[in-house]
Each structure stands twice: as structure tokens, then as C-alpha cells.
């Protein structure tokens, strides 16, 4: 499974999301390849799940992946619930 985390630049927000997701997946024993991207570079790439801050939603409409939108990026409970739900729905 390929999980892409997105932000505008690929260095701050998306990196933070990747770190938290890796932690959650490790604790759950789920294997996935997680990588941070900036929106511009990512377009055209394939991922099973795209995780992004909620306010990037307008840029992700019609994107061919499961889109997970996060409101509070430091709230691990929100992130965990949403990412595990997305993984369950795909498998």
C-alpha cells in the first residue's frame, strides 16, 4: 500500500503527517510505504491513500485515490481513526 502525505511544499506539514502515520502503522503492525509530497510534484503520481490538511480539499477533488482530510494535524487520535478507517475500506 502506498500512502502519500501532501502539503504545499513537501517539507513541513506533509513531513509531520508522514512521521505520525508511520508511528501509527508501526504500532498497528501495518506495512505501507509513506512519503511526503508537495502538491505540484505529486500530481500525476499514484497512491492508494492521500492524506492532506483539510484546507487542501479544493486541490484534491477528483483525485484517483482515497482522500483522507485532517483538521488537527497534531491530534493523533483523529489521524489514527481516519487512516485506519481508510485502510480498512481499501482492504
Amino acid at each position: 500500500m502506498v500512502i502519500a502525505t501532501l502539503c504545499g511544499m513537501g517539507f513541513g506539514t506533509s513531513m509531520m503527517l508522514k512521521l505520525f502515520i508511520d508511528e501509527i502503522l508501526k504500532a498497528e503492525g501495518i506495512k505501507a510505504e509513506t512519503s511526503p509530497w508537495d502538491l505540484g510534484t505529486f500530481k500525476g503520481n499514484k497512491a492508494d491513500i492521500v492524506v492532506a490538511p483539510v484546507d487542501m480539499e479544493p486541490h484534491l477533488r477528483d483525485y484517483p485515490a482515497k482522500i483522507v482530510l485532517i483538521k488537527n494535524l497534531v491530534d493523533k487520535a483523529e489521524l489514527k481513526e481516519k487512516i485506519l478507517t481508510a485502510i480498512r475500506e481499501l482492504s
Binding site: C7, G12, T13
Partner: protein, 153 residues
């Protein structure tokens, strides 16, 4: 690089009276320019990023992490911090208004990751947020935040 090194002590200010998103980004960036960590054009790039892509950088209620790209003018990996006397709206759908502002400069994709992970972990902790929000002057905030970082390692 650890948070203790990424965060520049002279680039920490508490309870500033700033009124607009523009002024806030400028100030958060100016402190890094004064520290010799970024070039002035990096500030313009941070403003442009938020104008073009929206205020997604408001990562949690009241907290924003501003940044642009390494090639936009980063001299060395750095982080500034300012808190606001009165919260300001950034236009975020759920996390407005903002009263805690970080500005990050990264040299590449890797050297700031350790520090960012530390910061993200701290931002989920109520006692850390209290240090940020309850420090009434810059000196107190500078002392307390480094004390927090050192004791929570």
C-alpha cells in the same frame, strides 16, 4: 538536528500585537533574517505559498507552521516562534483564529525531521501549549521553552 538546535532563541517573541496575516508572516520571517538563517525573499515565498495554496498551514487549533522551500532562500535550518496578544484569523476552515506562529526554514528533506517530530509531539501536549500561551514576555517564553525541551527529552 534536534529541536533545541533548530529553534533560534533570538527568534522567539511573546504576545506581539500584530493584526494581519501578512504582518505576522513578515515578523516571523524577519526574526530569521536577523539571525542570518534565511534571505528576505524566503518571507515573500511563505506569503505566496499561503496566498496560492490556502491556509492549510494552520495545522492545529490556533497554531500555524509557516514555511517555503529550501531553494527559496534558506541559509541554515531554522525555526522561529511568536505568540500573539490577540488571535488573528488566517482563513482556515476549522483552526482559526491563530495565536501561535512557527516559521520553518529547511535545508533539505531530512535535516529538520527529528526536530519537527519533536515539535509535533510537544504540540499535542497541553503543558507545552500552556508554556506557549501563558508566557507573557519574550524572555520568559525563551527560557521556558528551552527548559521544557531539555527536560522532556
Amino acid at each position: 538536528m534536534q529541536l533545541e538546535r533548530l529553534l533560534i532563541k533570538s527568534a522567539i517573541r511573546a504576545k506581539l500585537s500584530l493584526e494581519t496575516r501578512e504582518e505576522i508572516i513578515q515578523k516571523a520571517g524577519d526574526m530569521l533574517v536577523e539571525a542570518g538563517a534565511i534571505k528576505p525573499e524566503y518571507i515573500q515565498a511563505m506569503k505566496k505559498g499561503i496566498d496560492e495554496l490556502g491556509p492549510y498551514c494552520v495545522i492545529a487549533p490556533g497554531i500555524t507552521l509557516l514555511h517555503a522551500r529550501p531553494e527559496d532562500g534558506v541559509e541554515r535550518a531554522c525555526l522561529s516562534l511568536l505568540t500573539l496578544r490577540n488571535p488573528v484569523k488566517f482563513g482556515h476552515s476549522t483552526n482559526d483564529p491563530v495565536d501561535v506562529v512557527f516559521a520553518l526554514g529547511a535545508k533539505d528533506k531530512n535535516d529538520h525531521i527529528e526536530a519537527l517530530a519533536e515539535l509535533a509531539g510537544f504540540l499535542a501536549k497541553e503543558d507545552f501549549l500552556q508554556v506557549l500561551r501563558n508566557s507573557e514576555d519574550s524572555h520568559t517564553l525563551q527560557e521556558k521553552i528551552f527548559e521544557y525541551i531539555k527536560t522532556r527529552k
